[in-house]
Subunit: 485 residues, 2 copies
């Protein structure tokens, strides 16, 4: 019900997206061959270097912060965090401060009545495997105002000129609140007007083709996943276009897309729960010099926690072809793992609901956002008290294979995070398992879609899992579309 009323126009728009999700003519093998061909032509070498060998970056002698000589891009600084009553009530940590809002944009165009997405095979230094599937545009403001000393950003004009196309989604969303201080990117989907030339390294995909690649490990990058989650891909139009889901799970997922199929909590109750959590939690954060972050120190050219856990700040030297500039160094965050990011789902009255966690992360702008049911690196909890062990982690880790509806390892953003991956899971529990907990609520896909039209509601991990849930709406093999009344 947080979505628009199912008017004819809204239904038609979502039905078009559903048609795109059902269209899977290009076999996965064909797409992977395209990737391989590009990979063979691209050249990227990423070498770990000590932080004090970065060029163009330096450590400020007074604060210890790691800053770029231009004063732009981002700064690695410190954060003092106080969460009274939390399992760890007070800590200090390094954090990335990147105040500029970038653009993550996917360009859409209809071919033979089916909307296609213009995707890019892009190398980023943090990727384990070189190329990943990226949005049409993925640009910080420094990228496109020249601080990067690089080439212009192709297709950017479709996103910066409001008259250039029809906007399907345009919303600022947060990124990792554990590692970024209040970072937001603009998530955009724009339907192009007129001809769009396809440059080398770009290709038109149907939504169904992207969904197929999402099931593979490490192929669809984080920026694509978050933009996909903001697509208006729920509502009556999707349900009508897809017809019967074919099994209990998919039927429940389709019903979850439609407002009046019923939700466990009315919208006002969900919004009130979020308001209460934000008001009850007296989180205080304060930016501090990196030199004052105790418990962390420089060892072997990296900054790491004394326990060796959580994450490291480290440096890389990149030599690349096919990116804005050909050689550079930069600091990155490395959190090896992979971590576990899981959504527990269940059918309530035949409608699929996801168990969302009202989670505090120090970098959020508005205290609490909805996170997946589980989001952690299990090994971090060996240094914390048992009370800090996340709820439902053991349930997720012990799930029977037939209850795991989605399971793929995906990378976090390869421009800031080095080999930092998470296992993304959707785990179904039986309808009778209520799993009531004051910090968790069951929401439908329609309710999540309504919240995703606004900032400050779903964190980046939850948005990835919304995209994964969307990918399960259509059957894995292209079915014959049925139109139900």
């Amino acid at each position: 019900m947080l979505l628009p009323a199912p008017t004819t126009a809204a239904e038609a728009a979502t039905a078009r997206l559903a048609a795109s999700a059902l269209a899977r003519d290009g076999a996965a093998a064909d797409l992977l061959a395209w990737f391989d061909e590009l990979r063979s032509r691209s050249y990227t070498e990423v070498e770990q270097i000590p932080l004090d060998e970065l060029t163009g970056w330096s450590t400020d002698p007074a604060s210890g912060n790691i800053v770029h000589d231009s004063g732009r891009f981002f700064v690695v600084e410190g954060l003092d965090v106080h969460v009274p009553g939390g399992p760890v009530p007070r800590w200090r940590q390094p954090i990335i401060n990147q105040p500029e809002t970038g653009v993550l944009g996917i360009l859409v165009k209809e071919f033979d009545g089916v909307p296609h997405l213009l995707m890019q095979a892009k190398v980023e230094p943090g990727n384990c495997n070189g190329l990943q599937l990226s949005p049409t545009v993925q640009a910080t403001r420094s990228n496109y105002t020249g601080a990067h000393r690089g080439r212009g950003v192709p297709y950017l004009e479709h996103f910066t000129d409001p008259a250039a196309g029809a906007v399907l989604a345009d919303v600022r969303q947060s990124e990792q609140g554990a590692w970024f201080h209040q970072k937001r990117n603009r998530n955009m989907v724009v339907e192009a007007r007129g001809e769009v030339p396809v440059l080398d390294g770009f290709r038109w995909f149907t939504l169904g083709q992207v969904h197929q690649l999402l099931a593979a490990d490490d192929l669809v990058n984080m920026d694509t996943r978050t933009v996909l989650s903001c697509l208006p891909f729920t509502g009556r139009g999707v349900r009508r276009a897809v017809g019967s889901g074919g099994d209990w799970f998919r039927d429940a997922l389709l019903r979850s897309c439609v407002a009046d199929e019923g939700s466990r909590h009315p919208d006002e109750e969900v919004l009130s729960w979020i308001t209460r959590a934000r008001s009850a939690t007296d989180v205080q954060t304060r930016r501090i010099p990196l030199a004052e972050v105790d418990g962390w120190r420089r060892v072997d050219g990296r900054i790491r926690h004394d326990s060796g856990r959580f994450f490291d700040v480290m440096g890389v030297r990149v030599r690349a072809r096919g990116r804005e500039v050909d050689s550079w160094t930069q600091p990155m965050i490395e959190a090896p793992g992979p971590g576990v990011v899981a959504l527990v789902v269940r059918r309530i009255g035949g409608v699929l609901h996801a168990l969302m966690h009202g989670r505090v992360e120090p970098g959020f702008v508005d205290v609490v956002e909805l996170a997946p049911t589980v989001q952690c690196k299990p090994e971090n909890y060996s240094v914390l008290t048992p009370a800090a062990r996340p709820p439902f982690l053991d349930l997720v880790l012990a799930a029977a294979p037939e209850d795991v509806r989605f399971d793929a390892v995906h990378s976090e953003e390869g421009g800031r995070f080095y080999h930092t991956r998470n296992r993304y899971l959707v785990v179904e529990v039986p309808p009778e398992r209520e799993l009531e907990h004051p910090d968790f609520r069951w929401l439908t896909l329609d309710q999540l879609a309504g919240l995703l039209r606004h900032s400050h509601y779903l964190n980046v991990q939850a948005r990835s899992l919304v995209a994964c849930l969307h990918s399960l709406i259509c059957a894995p093999a292209a079915p014959t579309p049925e139109v139900s009344p």
Copy 2:
């Protein structure tokens, strides 16, 4: 369309509020007599004192900040503001930092099928006229956790215990971004379960009775106005219950309450415009010690701008009966005026639209919120460049009396602002006056109601004017309700 679909349940709820708005049995004279009787029994003396004669508050010798000895309530400190490209690109100013989220709550209960609101006649030191009509609860966290050394806050349990009633609205909203650093209060409307005793100083009002008082100067306080604006008082239910508005203006206002009557800009376009404004504006604010705020100085026991304009920080001594504690001193902000806060409205296709301004205020959490068409103190602009003169100010000041649909002077919050009042206006322009401007957009009441379910969208002045617009939906004299199909 940002509102829920007009389901039977939502229609029924808004129809009940409409019934309350139509019920005006208690004549205004009767209500004013109740006020007068309370006023004769209450005793409040407010005396202006120099800032250095405050007791319990002191000026920190290092920072110059004005702080309470307990470290609670609020701090008067400094803010450094940088708005590149703005008419005044850089300035410093004093600002109130009050990180605690308070509760502003109205309790609702049905009598004879008509919902009533439990209102309070409350004295606040900043009021020009002593008592004003306040919400049931108006409490900072310091109030109810004892830092106030005062009595308990009556009726608070209805708002802090989720099981105590049905939540009609619960959303954190900003307050004056020119004077507060990121202040938010929780705006709540809760329908009580069970009996509710009426304490001295409290009384049940219909929505129609509160709307009648809103037309008078200085009677309905700011906290009431902002909570009223968050009531789900739009949608098909209101239109059906009220029936024909009776004249062109009210018909257009009623059609403005219903999503599918048509809006000048589709919702996605409005949201994208807000996202763009937030991303384009590189507003940088930094909290600084009050002592470093240049251009302002202590004169005659106050802090004022060298020009004598904008506002003063001053001190008061209060002696009161019928408030939490009987005598105290505190710093306040005084911005004499009154200022002009005006909404320009016009009929587009027979549907009333309000011209909203995407406005930057330094204290906002998310850069830009929607403000009224005009919000300023005209005399401040004599010290600024002519280019800084607000758009549409002259149009509003020159409006013919028959085009002024609402006109009343209201006080800003009397707990922080001393004799600080604004003239709230709704001015209609002819349908053909498009008044296109990149920083302004025409929105329907239904679109504003949809945004008001979330934080960060409408500033406090805009919310006051939404409440004023609601008050015009029902005719001034109680009409016979007509139910249209």
